[in-house]
Symmetry: C2
Subunit: 265 residues, 2 copies
């Protein structure tokens, strides 16, 4: 059967995939995978090949973005192709174009969802999903942008939390650190002086959500800078208004200082 | 070892769980599960018990909310307890209290994340994750509220999409339909006359995200009412500003009418 199945690998390692995702991979004629949109810190291609009993073809950003995923589409014209993507296949929208192209070529597509870093971070934090506003990525200093600051400001104005993913180049092992991100946001504050991000601003730093040793640390900005988050990937949450149960979660699971208690609405 | 592991079941059926989630369940001394926060349309407890080779104790809302999950905490004091939750364990914040209580009792807790309906819907739609604002649940008519309308209005004002989950009572097989939700939103419009939700408003209806036969239909509100979405669960997306790639996705995968082309920014 000619088809292209996008399968989410979930988080961290080769056991993040769902049972149905593994099943689809096992009975595929061709299996492709990309490793550049996210970091899966403990993933081993060799172990995954043993699990699914298939040879995995790793495709590059160049294969997908410059060559429009032709190698995958050609395989899907000959049989069942599975394309493995870290997290959920379409939470990063990188691969939507290929899915549209596939359908134009008469190739049927399906999705097997995976655990996304977005929901894992929110879930780990104990903060209320309904209180998150727009999400934003903080870029590397060479791509400096005021957008993250403006998104945090816009969300805070209406009491909402902001999830900030910190940029990464997974294949080059390059990751924006929590300290670098904070520094960039403080620079924008220095310029705008809106009082959105100050040394007294509460913030939650997260490292390796979805791994066996996630790190979660809530603190005031001035005190978070000294914290050692260990290995990547990293993210930050800037809380808006905090419900007392959210504060209780941050104290229980994110080592929030007792000063957080006075933030509860 | 005394511990309580919250394991996400992911979506739809017993194969939505991750390999690591199944592994944790297989080597648990006690396995509990709740079935009331979400519907997993094709889940069979018997098949799942066969998969993990464990007896599963289904706990009720009463066990968890009125009796504070004592039955689970008592088990976790005697050995390793796994608590299975549809989707991701803490995307609905229902179980955060039990996690805090467990830690207070000196029981170590861990999380194995699962695929959440939130990210699956966004992923299915092809809309950009970064363009979603606050999420909201549309309640049953007996709990009528203007909040969903106000959240959609607030998001639209800044160009953001709104994901609306439609309320459900999974154990009573009671589900708010897409038509009922639209009717309620139009009633609030009738009162407020802000022009946020009109017959010409573009909207995307989704049924059974994460299943083998998800339904996705984009249309103008007046035309969506006649569409048959089949079985539950249901959700709605009210788009804010649409990028031309998002419109292309809705046309390719959600049968959006050609009139959607003029919505692209």
């Amino acid at each position: 059967m000619n088809e292209l199945v996008f399968v989410g690998l979930g988080l961290n390692d080769e056991k993040g995939i769902s049972l149905k995702g593994l099943e689809e991979t096992k009975n595929a004629d061709y299996v492709f995978m990309e490793t550049y949109t996210s970091l899966m810190p403990d993933f081993s291609i060799e172990r995954f090949e043993a699990l699914c009993d298939r040879k995995i073809h790793v495709v590059s950003r160049n294969d997908l973005e410059d060559k429009n995923g032709t190698v995958i589409l050609e395989a899907a014209k000959k049989g069942k192709a599975v394309f493995l993507v870290p997290g959920d296949p379409f939470i990063a929208t990188t691969h939507v174009t290929m899915r549209i192209d596939a359908e134009k070529h008469g190739i049927k597509t399906r999705i097997v969802h995976g655990t996304s870093i977005m929901s894992a971070i929110i879930s780990l934090s104990g903060l209320h999903n309904y209180t998150f506003g727009k999400t934003v990525t903080v870029p590397f200093p060479e791509n400096f942008s005021e957008t993250p600051y403006n998104v945090i400001a816009q969300n805070k104005q209406v009491g909402l939390h902001t999830l900030c993913l910190l940029d990464l180049k997974a294949n080059e092992k390059s990751f924006l650190s929590i300290n670098q991100a904070i520094k960039m946001l403080l620079e924008v504050e220095e310029k705008n002086k809106k009082g959105i991000i100050t040394p007294e601003t509460p913030v939650v730093g997260i490292a390796r959500a979805g791994s066996y040793s996630p790190i979660l640390k809530a603190d005031f900005l001035k005190d978070l800078a000294a914290y050692d988050f260990g290995e990547p990937p990293y993210s930050l949450i800037f809380p808006g208004e905090l419900h007392f149960m959210e504060v209780a979660s941050l104290i229980a699971f994110a080592e929030a200082p007792v000063g957080f208690r006075r933030l509860a609405k």
